[in-house]
Amino acid sequence: MEAQTMTGLTEGVPTGTGLAVPDITGQVLAGQVLGGQAAAGGVMAQQAPVLPSSLWVYLSATPLFWLTATLVVWLLASAVARRAKGHPMVNPVLISVIVIGLGLTLGGVAYPAYFEGAQFIHFLLGPATVALAVPLVRQIRLVIANLLPMLVALAAGSITAVLSVLALGRLFDFPDALTVSMAPKSSTAGVAMAISKGLGGDPGLTAVFVILTGITGAVVVTGLMNRMRITDYAARGFAAGLASHGIGTARAFQVDPVAGLFAGIAMALNALVTALIVPLFL
């Protein structure tokens, strides 16, 4: 399912712009170097001192900078999350997205330029999906023992995820295109965007709803499950993965390996079921 996330998101990322970025910054850089040269009175034209701002323009256009920045921000966010003893409100994905988003906005860097570097991390979604086989094989007996509950929860959860959006859309008076774009929000991004596109929704908007749903689920799931007194990590994880796909699965792995595994299974199954049922309801 995550490969579609990849292809799906590259749709959102204008790939041509990525190639144009070095050209634009090259011109800007040249302009600033010339400015520095003028200030220095034209002496040592080729060796003009590199201004911090031109350094920023140079670095912020390299994939290396945004790749490193993403890793550093993630490590800091994880450290903060550990300090908070894994408190659900201190979600490392949410913190990283806010910090990097602010950095890009303040630094005047366009998303495609950021993605040039971050794509190397994004790419790992595919192998990470394949990697789910390892905990699956380790816990194969537990998975088989929970087969019936999983199927029942899958049917109930997938239908609820879609129907609740339709009901809320009517309640809040959403335009039809908005409701369609939101209906597949609990499935993984690539699949959700494909469903939305096929039914006349806006895939870009769907991607935003998918991310917001993932973060919402990851933040609320622990408190909700504790309040409901659910102690079965298979059940908790399955709900997290079904309602909030990969970001919920990441949260589940943060809490417990069994929860993480069942979240991963739920994410995969819900992607398939959502694709089947959304067209039935719309």
């Binding site: 490969a3 991390i121 979604l125 789910l132 019936l148 609820t160 870009g204």
Partner: protein, 125 residues
């Protein structure tokens, strides 16, 4: 480490190839996941596969323990649509919050209730 990464990418590659051949209905990584699961299950306990199992396990554990970072690049993409979300106001966020909470509750309730019934039937055949 390199061995483990190679196995994961290899299974994804085979998955992508089969996905393409089958018309792209099921994503390649999901087919790769199914194939690796079958492979690991059938080679379990075979001495010749021990090193592959160990290296793949190490990389897989590392990736899954840090799964969150893989969603950061896509998550940051929200900034492209921020004005749109803002302009549509709180009703969007409210709808997402309510729908997500209801889905979590119904799913976990269905799961535990089905498990409860199943165990009850097993005790009284």
């Amino acid at each position: 480490m390199i061995q483990g990464i190679t196995w994961l990418l290899g299974f994804q590659l085979v998955g992508e190839a089969l996905s393409y051949a089958a018309g792209g209905q099921v994503p390649g990584p999901v087919i790769g996941l199914a194939l690796l699961t079958l492979f690991l299950l059938t080679t379990r306990g075979v001495p010749a596969a021990a090193s592959m199992e160990q290296s793949t396990g190490k990389v897989a554990d590392g990736l899954l323990a840090n799964l969150g970072i893989l969603f950061v690049p896509a998550g940051v993409g929200i900034i492209q649509h921020l004005d749109l979300v803002m302009s549509m106001g709180l009703s969007i966020l409210a709808a997402i919050l309510v729908s997500t909470v209801v889905t979590l509750v119904v799913t976990v309730w269905a799961f535990t209730f089905a498990k409860y019934l199943e165990q009850k039937w097993k005790r009284k055949p």
